[in-house]
């Protein structure tokens, strides 16, 4: 098993006819993901290298039974596209789009929560990869192999870096989940860590956080109460000065809260090991599991 995406995934891509949307949809399909359709209003009836394009998510779901959506449209259209996918009954919506207005994210988050029928991962995330099964998003899948380490991260490229150092120690991954760096993520650490705890293929959980917000602190409490599997955490941004936004809309230190040191302390206080560099994360994994299986 793996979590969120796998052999059961039937993917429909919003924005499949855009250049980036086409490129990554085909890359995901080449990896083995079952890409059943795409949505671009006004281009229904066309196809992208054999993948049928629909005008609406409702039509796409009716025709293809899609259960997963990937959102690849520009920020001003993204919130609407997420809401459309949810309204059409898609259960898992993965939003890659970066730069969605904060108030749109708030409306989307609260609508999905109220309706309670779909999970949003992202926005502003690299997607989800279950090595050997399915890749949805922009993660360079060839760098990862299947294994027993589950990774959840707020940052895309940092995920690759951590996956890479783990791979150099011989570890593979059950699933890699990018939850995104925005202020209102649809899915947070707690959700994903809970799924890894239940996943029989995951023996070790790595969470890569960064400055800003209180997700890491809340994850620390959750882990202490609910997680039996070992967890290793990494926090980026020890050298970030307070009051500055560090690229991710969510990565801002306000006063003493949300800083890297405070997050590391909160996690360590609950018994979670914290690596100060990606390399230290890999070393901690070796120490815990005694090398890859």
């Amino acid at each position: 098993m793996s979590i969120l995406v796998g052999n059961e995934t039937r993917l429909c891509v919003s924005g499949i006819t855009g250049s980036e949307g086409t490129f990554h949809s085909l890359r995901n399909r080449d990896y083995g993901t079952n890409v059943v359709g795409g949505v671009t209003p006004g281009k229904g009836g066309q196809d992208v290298d054999g993948i049928p394009v629909f005008n609406t998510f409702h039509e796409a779901v009716a025709e293809t039974d899609a259960n997963t959506a990937m959102i690849f449209v520009p920020p001003r259209f993204a919130a609407d596209s997420i809401l459309e996918a949810e309204d059409a009954g898609v259960e898992l919506i993965i939003a890659i789009t970066e730069g969605i207005p904060a108030h749109d994210e708030l409306r989307v988050y609260n609508t999905l929560k109220k309706n309670g029928r779909a999970r949003l991962v992202g926005p502003n995330c690299p997607g989800i990869l279950s090595p050997g099964k399915a890749s949805v998003g922009i993660i360079p899948a060839s760098f990862f192999k299947s294994g027993n380490v589950g990774v959840v991260s707020r940052s895309g490229t940092l995920t690759y870096q951590i996956g890479n150092v783990l791979a150099q120690e011989g570890f593979g991954n059950s699933t890699i989940v990018g939850i995104g760096g925005d202020p209102v993520p649809g899915t947070d650490f707690i959700d994903v860590i809970g799924m890894f705890e239940e996943d029989p293929e995951t023996d070790l959980i790595v969470m890569a956080g960064e400055i800003g917000g209180d997700n890491e602190e809340r994850a620390a409490d959750f882990i202490a109460e609910n997680v039996t599997k070992p967890v290793i955490a990494y926090i980026a941004g020890f050298t970030a000065p307070p009051g500055k936004t560090m690229g991710h809309a969510g990565a801002i230190v306000s006063g003493s809260s949300g800083g890297a040191a405070a997050k590391a302390e909160a996690l360590e206080a609950k018994g979670v090991r914290v690596g100060k560099t990606p390399t230290e994360v890999a070393q901690a994994a070796v120490a815990l599991l005694g090398g890859a299986d």
Partner: protein
């Protein structure tokens, strides 16, 4: 993006939040003309995005034309905690019976707007929050429902505002919430919200932060951006669409993706170096963006060595290599570069760099190795 006080007040006025009438001024002459029009007494207020303006002498009351001129002359060009005053706001002086505090903030943790109201306004609200948290009434608003009048009443009663102003304070909260939503703000703060002796309520100050990602919906707000207070390198980067934050050290950093760049800063610091900047070239950067980024990094004269740390996903390493080669052709840097390329098209990127044989460019295969190398080079340069 943070607005100046008067820009915030102009937004407030558009949404019916009562504010004292006033005029902006960029010169002494404009300030005097504004004061004459508004009448006396009036207040001459420095417009800079930093607190403590009053203590620094940036807010003065003028009783007549001579005083208005004198204050405008003194405040324009004044340095307030590192920021130069380029603009003034002249407004009619208000009589104050009580000073309250009101705000709407984007509460990431609760994923809902948070309204706050307190009768302990006019002072440092952070200190109030710390010492007497019960003095601040708080209420989350369901963003799908929006503001209801009972929210205003509940906050006003909980904060124990004077009974005769419960209704107007509630009405002001409704309008502040409307401003927050309509303008895509992430912060709307009024400190102090005043009650005048004739029982009017007014916003005497305005602190507004707008969501940059939503500026496409508000072209008129996008024009308010004030780059004058920003660091020259940060301004240059912003003009080129790069995310750059100036730091104090001497090692220039470029990476792709905010998390990896933050991590790179940490790894360099652990290796004993001091990063000069945070620069996220972003996802899918093309060669010209990289060339631009090198220019921004090197425009900081403190930089003694530069580290490129790229893990390509959507970014292609061959594009990064081309950008660096182009930067060398255009600006011929004199400081050493350490380059680590991994991920999409890394083999092609490394081959391009090897062929180009750029002077003073060192390839490293790991992030830790690259950090150690750049620290060593920066030390060599300062020895």
């Amino acid at each position: 993006m943070d607005l100046l006080e008067y820009q915030g007040k102009q937004l407030f006025a558009r949404h019916g939040v009562p504010v004292p009438s006033g005029k902006p001024a960029r010169t002494v002459e404009e300030a005097v003309a504004a004061a004459e029009e508004i009448g006396y007494p009036c207040v001459v207020k420095a417009q800079v995005q930093i607190g403590g303006r009053g203590k620094a002498g940036g807010i003065k009351v003028a009783q007549n034309r001579e005083e208005a001129e004198q204050h405008a002359r003194a405040i324009l060009g004044m340095d307030i905690r590192g920021l130069t005053v380029h603009e003034l706001w002249i407004e009619g002086a208000s009589e104050i019976a009580s000073e309250y505090y009101a705000s709407v903030i984007f509460d990431r943790s609760a994923k809902a707007p948070l309204l706050m109201l307190s009768t302990k306004g006019g002072m440092d609200i952070e200190a109030v929050a710390e010492e007497t948290p019960e003095a601040i009434a708080r209420l989350h608003v369901d963003p799908l429902l929006g503001f209801c009048d009972f929210h205003g009443r509940r906050l006003a009663f909980e904060a124990a505002v004077d009974a005769d102003v419960v209704r107007p304070v509630g009405a002001m909260l409704a309008k502040l919430y409307e401003t927050f939503i309509a303008e895509d703000a992430t912060l709307v703060e009024v400190n102090p919200l005043i009650v005048t002796p004739d029982r009017q309520v007014k916003a005497l100050d305005a602190k507004v932060t707008l969501d940059d990602n939503a500026l496409f919906r508000h072209p008129e707000n996008a024009e308010l951006r004030d780059l004058s207070g920003e660091d020259p390198q940060e301004r240059m980067a912003k003009e080129r669409g790069l995310t750059y934050v100036k730091l104090d050290g001497d090692i220039g950093i470029l990476g792709n993706g905010a998390g990896l760049v933050m991590s790179t800063l940490d790894v360099v610091a652990l290796a004993g170096g001091a990063p000069a900047n945070f620069l996220d070239a972003g996802g899918g950067s093309k060669a010209d963006a990289i060339t631009s980024a090198v220019e921004v990094i090197l425009s900081d004269p403190k930089v003694k060595a530069v580290l490129f740390n790229i893990f390509g996903g959507i970014t292609r390493c061959d594009e990064v290599a081309r950008g660096l080669i182009e930067a060398f052709a255009q600006i011929n840097p004199t400081v050493p570069f350490v380059v680590r390329l991994d991920g999409t098209n890394d083999v092609e990127g490394r081959a391009l760099l090897a062929e180009a044989k750029l002077p003073n460019v060192y390839a490293e295969s790991t992030m830790d190795g690259a950090a150690a190398k750049v620290v060593e080079l920066a030390r060599g340069a300062s020895a």
